[in-house]
């Protein structure tokens, strides 16, 4: 109990820190710490899948995106400090509004009625028919597969807009290379291990917490490491291959989903007897495509005007 109060307090403290610190760089670092604390909170809420996802995507990838953006924005110190808040009247009003919202929310939380329908029991009953043992993967990829389909489309849209804006102005690609021999040597060992972890995460997704999104996040982290250390990523420069890679995840998901539909059955109902196999195939395609999508969210960011931030020291 004390641990929960402590963790909750730390979470709120970090969140307040993110909003109140003057220096932008410090608030981004605090934001990454907030993401890691959130991962801990998800463990306390008995949601291991979410802890994995939050750590890999929430803190990891979002943190990298923010740091990368920050590096390109090179905030001029003076402006950052002075214009932090709006006029006192508006900030007072906003503060009152926030207090009101907290009060209303807490009142609603305390008074929330007991639900009539109990979904956990229904999920357990239907688990066998879904073809997967792990309830969360069952919900994600068979009961509510439609949500996951649309969610992959959402990421694809984000990447398409990134590509559209990136190439709409002719600017050189962002070289954020960190030239250090230790990194190169270490990667020789790290990359195969990360690949193995990604495949392991994908495989256990069907009976324990893991799955396509967490595995894809590890793949994306691998690609970011390779990009930062300058090791060439196979087929990276070839835009055509990139586009095909982006499309294959959603495409396979749609195709497999409508196999049953074409034969008179139901959309997103996996073929009889082949549920586990088709879910695994879809998860594999999703992992590959999502890994590429998450990486191109990092990659597709427009380049800065001047040379980029980290030029390794005299190594």
């Amino acid at each position: 109990m004390i641990l929960d109060w402590l963790l909750a307090g730390a979470l709120i403290g970090t969140a307040a820190g993110v909003l109140l610190t003057r220096d932008l760089y410090r608030s981004v670092v605090l934001f990454i710490i907030f993401g890691l604390l959130m991962a801990l909170v998800w463990v306390r809420v008995e949601a291991p899948d979410l802890a994995l996802a939050e750590a890999a995507i929430g803190a990891g990838l979002t943190g990298v995106l923010f740091l990368d953006a920050l590096g390109h924005l090179n905030p001029d110190k003076a402006a950052a400090v002075r214009q932090k808040y709006r006029q006192p009247l508006l900030s007072g009003l906003a503060f009152l509004l926030a207090l009101g919202v907290t009060g209303l929310l807490w009142m609603a939380l305390v008074d929330s009625p007991q639900p009539g329908v109990h979904l956990p029991e229904i999920v357990d009953q239907q688990l066998l028919a879904s073809g997967v043992e792990h309830p969360i993967t069952a919900v994600l990829l068979s009961f509510r597969a439609y949500d996951t389909l649309l969610e992959v489309a959402v990421i694809l849209v984000a990447v398409v807009v990134g590509l559209a804006l990136r190439f709409s102005q002719e600017d050189q690609p962002a070289e954020t290379q960190v030239l250090s021999p230790l990194l190169q040597k270490m990667l020789v060992w790290l990359l195969p291990l990360m690949l193995m972890v990604a495949i392991y995460l994908l495989w256990i997704g069907s009976y324990r917490s893991g799955g396509a999104f967490q595995a894809a996040a590890v793949l994306a982290a691998m690609a970011v490491l390779m990009r930062m250390s300058g090791t060439p990523i196979p087929g990276h420069s070839n835009l055509y291959l990139l586009r095909i890679g982006l499309v294959v995840g959603l495409g396979l998901f749609l195709l497999l989903g409508s196999v049953d539909l074409v034969s008179g059955g139901n959309f997103l109902a996996w073929p009889e007897g082949w549920e586990k196999a088709s879910i695994l195939v879809v998860e594999g395609a999703l992992t590959f495509s999502l890994g590429m999508l998450l990486f191109s969210l990092f990659e597709a960011s427009p380049a800065p005007k001047q040379a980029s931030m980290t030029r390794g020291g005299g190594a």
């Binding site: 960190v178 250090s180 230790l182 990194l183 020291g313």
Partner: protein, 101 residues
């Protein structure tokens, strides 16, 4: 009974090492010394905690996973430490060169 005593002792010492590490982080003046304190002491603390947890673990694969986690933590910490200090050194001689010229 003795095992439990030993395990709790190991975990306590590990935690103490973490404390010392953070103390070093706060007290030391500049980046390299802080990084040095952090990476060394915390890795040792983590090692002790892992050692303390090992007997309580049921299946063998989990034991190997725990040790793997520890090794990875050491590799990541030392690599990150090296890069941070390298970037710090880069910015350091940039300042000195701009100040001299």
């Amino acid at each position: 009974m003795l095992i439990d005593l030993l395990r709790s002792l190991l975990i306590l010492v590990g935690a103490a090492f973490f404390l010392v590490g953070t103390l070093g982080l706060l007290r030391f003046p500049d980046a390299p010394t802080r990084i040095h304190a952090l990476t060394k002491v915390d890795n040792l603390g983590l090692g002790l905690i892992v050692l303390g947890l090992l007997p309580g673990v049921a299946s063998w694969p989990v034991v190997f996973k725990m040790i793997l986690i520890w090794l990875l933590a050491i590799a990541a910490a030392s690599l990150a430490g090296h890069l941070v200090v390298q970037a710090w050194a880069g910015s350091q001689n940039k300042e000195t060169s701009s100040r001299d010229s």
